[in-house]
Symmetry: C2
Subunit: 505 residues, 2 copies
Amino acid sequence: MKRYFLSLLLLPLSLFAAQPAQPNIILFLVDDMGLMDTSAPMLADDSGNIVSQPLNAWYRTPNMERLAKKGIRFSQFYAHTVCSPTRASIMTGQNSARHRTTQFISPRGKNTGDHGPEDWNWAGLTSDDVTLPGLLRDFGYRTIHVGKAHFAPPDHVGEDPSNLGFDVNVGGASMGQPGSYWGQDGYGNLNPKRATWAVPGMEKYYGTDTFLTEALTIEAKAEIDRSLEIDAPFYLYMSHYSVHSPFQSDPRFEDNYAGSDKDERSRAYATLIEGMDKSLGDLMDHLEARGIAENTLIIFMGDNGSDAPFGGADNIASSAPFRGKKASRWEGGIRVPFIAAWGDPQSGHPVQQQLLIKVGGVQSQLGICYDVFPTLLAVATAKPPMDHVVDGQNLKPLLQGDRDPERKEVFLSHFPHEHRNNYFTSYRAGNWKLIYHYLPESGRDADRYELYNLRKDPSESDNQAAVQPERLARMTRVMTRQLDAMEALYPVVDGVEQRPVVPSS
Amino acid sequence: MKRYFLSLLLLPLSLFAAQPAQPNIILFLVDDMGLMDTSAPMLADDSGNIVSQPLNAWYRTPNMERLAKKGIRFSQFYAHTVCSPTRASIMTGQNSARHRTTQFISPRGKNTGDHGPEDWNWAGLTSDDVTLPGLLRDFGYRTIHVGKAHFAPPDHVGEDPSNLGFDVNVGGASMGQPGSYWGQDGYGNLNPKRATWAVPGMEKYYGTDTFLTEALTIEAKAEIDRSLEIDAPFYLYMSHYSVHSPFQSDPRFEDNYAGSDKDERSRAYATLIEGMDKSLGDLMDHLEARGIAENTLIIFMGDNGSDAPFGGADNIASSAPFRGKKASRWEGGIRVPFIAAWGDPQSGHPVQQQLLIKVGGVQSQLGICYDVFPTLLAVATAKPPMDHVVDGQNLKPLLQGDRDPERKEVFLSHFPHEHRNNYFTSYRAGNWKLIYHYLPESGRDADRYELYNLRKDPSESDNQAAVQPERLARMTRVMTRQLDAMEALYPVVDGVEQRPVVPSS
């Protein structure tokens, strides 16, 4: 009884005094950027030492290096194979098998393909959905959308981020790529050949030589300033169109790649990367100039594997030493760069006590795109509704540089569709990765099962399915159970759902 | 002057006396049947001896064997990689690069894909187009469509074959596959799960155990009889839905495959093949019973490579020893069975004088699906309008068993789309085959060029592109010239047409 009164007396105190301030948050999301498309190496050896790869010497991203020094980089961070699934996962905290936007949203129709499930969530998010910005807004944030949205098709309510929990929308609409990066083209609005995906708004830059990445950065800085004026913590979803195609060269950086023997498109791609990196640096500078670097959390990540214009979807090329690229089943299709840091980690601002990010750290435990949802809600002291299922786990221990013993070491990437690879689920558990093909005879692969030991065979070249029958059967069984638990949709042949077939072991 | 009068006098005589009678024609077209899906071997060695392959021992097609004995089989007959292009080529006599239905027509939209040309002919044929049945009808034929049409999408005029030159339509509509082969399902009309592609009409068979292939055959025989009643030569386009998926077992033939260790779908596929073959035999029997075998020409052919339910699109499997299957760039994707014969070649009917088909022959010179158009027009003494461009060549010399020295030994298969293989043109010239990839970095193949010597390397395993630079450059140049001459459409990236790049040699 005494304890009861005491706790009642303490309650208001804890709400007003012990309640920590809310940090500003920038989620800096880059489109189609693979984990090797940077001069800040993302891989580490077993001792946690950073390991450079050849492509790290080609790209120039000094501001990613600067950010990584302030905080922690992840050497094994996963996203879905294409953009819409990852973006919906960030918004909802759910695996795409659960939210069912398993394929990219197309302006041209349902994009179901020959054997895709008819009921996949091709219409994307609606104003009825629980979303990360909606929750942050409920808990006091000013929520700012800048750049690519691609949450729903044209003429659907979700095409406008303002209907999905964002207070402000700059340049976001249904499309997944810009008509043009060039101000001279009005970002597509002034050039009929590039009008299909013309970026909305930002008329003041039309006809100027302001590259789209730069224009979005200028607007983002202005929105930060507006948030400061009204004294609200902000959530800035800085979602760059770069480095998605069209691979238009950014003249500001061309000289840096002029002497190379790489082809024109690869050089143009490198300028897109460097322009994106400049945006990151400009935002960091702006936080410092405004004195809010100390209480602003920055998360940098990619949305799917690299789509750099060289190498095929099954080759060891644009994500070397990993195989594949965006939309493939290989590691190169789903591994993305990830860095988290406080803008000024040395300041010791009280808000940082909630999340002590390891400075200069490298984390090798698995992180996943939908972990961002519970992580950011926690740091913002916000909560999802009780009935909203969250697949993600709070990254807090990992960001502190610790190993989280309670964390499940699994990632399930479900793609019951056609694109560069057809109708598969990949399931990583520990060091092993199973790739299950629903329609082997309809695709390019005759085998139903692939099984790789990623530790010994990171380039996925040595299929162990035939020599590890028990492991294969067990992993297929667990994969199926997890898919069913999420009520995943499967490919359909002649009206018949193609559930995974567990092999006899 | 004297000669002038003489020729004037002779003119009416030549029109009425020398004008030969018109034969009946059956074009027996099988959907998705590869050149190995038969017990009648299609390959021959250099001496013209028939060579069996392992798969020939698995399938049972006694009526194809019977037909081949009456006439000639082709060991190198080509079609396009998917069905709509081939069907439009048969109707128009044109390469798909010219008629621009380069991809299969989809009920779900334009099916353009990420980088397909927006202006490809996704709407298919219209009533304004010159078509083979339309011309034959103009020249006195009764034209009968039975089975799969798939000439245009739903709600387009061309979805009904009656609008494309056919007097009669049995079972044809916009869709490329049947909802069901089972009468119990009403061919899809009685089963909601199979209703999407329900076959129109034929209500009298609903609820019976009449397999679709059988029902179409019964109807085709009745249409032959109706033509005889009105004493008109007929053109029967006997276009079976079989052996396209769904791979439903035909109970009439199940016992023939019951002892096999092949899987259920492969066994079901074999029953579809045998049911299709029974239809061929039933029609041949019917011609004999009606006494018209002697003046009826039968052409048997497939519309694209095999889609048998085993092996992937890049494997040596369902068209072994050739690589690949339907929709792939390999020989297995474009080589199809072809047999031509008079129903009764021994009768010496005068109409056969126009086209003396070699009995029991094997032709190893290249034939192509669009050659059927000029060949059938010629034998029907019909002509296309002067302004209609025809890419096909009359097969007459080849059907006689001769080598045609004037025939071009080339075939160009243009696929600026995505399916099982992405964005390619393959170009066969003599023994060599070039495969050009428009977007190597967007697909599964990192190389832009593949070059094979089909004579030495029929399974396309040894890419000679790097060691034959001059041949590669020359073939790429000629391929591009031919594509441009047909005003082919190319893939598009960011509004920019991707014309072939000729390598430096």
